[in-house]
Point group: C2
Chain length 206, copies 2
DNA sequence: TAGATTGTTAATCGATTAACAATC
DNA sequence: TAGATTGTTAATCGATTAACAATC
């Protein structure tokens, strides 16, 4: 119980969480391992195996209760609380991120948005006032934010990463193609649709 | 040589490709497996192992030639040509995607953008004219597009997916949190930053 | 009861890692 | 030569899958 999950298990549980969240929204009370498999491309046996390591959550012949399983996985992943994150960049990508329900749905709150452009500073973006980039350090420290999302042009990504890390951020989401150099104790997640696409194309072409 | 790569190998090679592309831009002529490891969090031994399955691309004591390795991996992944994709949704996310250099850099060309909003149709977005959503089927067929990117609100994602699939698309990138039901021969890649974040937080909190 | 789906076993395969000789 | 880094081996661990009894 107190043991740390392996990287693979934690990644898969996160994906089950996403499917369950959506299934609940769609009004599905029950879901089978096969249905989760269809949406995630993770083998149904493995899903049952992953879950049964933590308890007997399902009913044979019936499946899993969407709501109950959601809560069990949240307990396992310890993601029941609210998390504050900082968003750097109020351009089109930053606006798209701020207006998405994708974070709010999982208890993730965009606590601050920063931009260098005086035109954007002070404006309200989906309920959040854009702060001047100069306030980044103080705000991130005050609010104890440990997650930063970079929605800036690639040429500014390293500088923004440095400033976030200086302010205490430990997890960075990089939406530019730039490679980031960060201290060992900071985790960088780079999202690159082009890379995923090349990979998907390989399997289509072969 | 003619054998199909496993899913894991293809995914890793795609990531090496991304690192090499950026490293070349930064003017690095040579790169070591350890450097690639630092950027990808993939074990350096595994990187050397993956590469050596296809040939002896490196020089002991020196590393790999960035340019030469880039070309070798492109050959292995068969991603040397140009690929046309269709983008659905010219909102903030769609605009962010269209203006990004992330696709162009890997030979991926946004051949068409569609939107239902008459305000947006006809406008030029980063060099691409936004087409009416009603033309989706014909355009996708004419241009033989097999990749569709969904940058639409979650409530419209399934409809857009259906229309793209009807028109012949085989690979979908879903940037909404919606779950998509598609035929077996269509691959869906869902990008959900919230899920990645919960997973990243787990390892930070434990 | 009949049908469906879980929980679990067992067997296989790929990923991961340490270690180190080869060699630039 | 000395230092660095590849290519490769060997050992271990986790992922994957088929199969099926248990049971709802």
């Amino acid at each position: 119980m107190g043991e740390r999950l392996t990287v693979g298990v934690a990644a898969r549980l996160s994906r089950y969480l996403q499917v369950l969240t959506q299934a609940r929204k769609m009004g599905k009370d029950r879901i089978s391992s096969q249905e989760i498999s269809d949406y995630t491309n993770i083998n149904a046996t493995q899903i049952r195996r992953d879950l049964s390591a933590f308890g007997k959550f399902g009913k044979r012949g019936v499946g899993y209760s969407t709501e109950a399983l959601l809560n069990e996985i949240r307990k396992i992943l310890r993601t029941q609380g609210q998390h504050n994150i900082a968003l750097v960049g109020a351009g089109r990508l930053g606006q798209a991120i701020a207006s998405s329900t994708i974070f709010a749905e999982h208890g993730i709150n965009i606590a601050a948005v920063f931009d260098v452009d005086p035109e954007k500073v002070g404006r309200t973006m989906d309920g959040i006032v854009v702060s001047d980039y100069g306030n980044l350090r103080d705000t991130v420290r005050e609010k104890n934010i440990i997650v930063g999302v970079l929605a800036v042009p690639p040429e500014n990504a390293q500088q923004a990463a440095n400033d976030l890390v200086d302010a205490g951020v430990k997890i960075l989401f990089n939406y530019s193609e730039a490679l980031l150099d960060v201290p060992q104790d900071v985790a960088v997640h780079t999202s690159n649709p082009a890379v995923d696409l090349l990979y998907a194309l390989y399997f289509h072409l072969t």
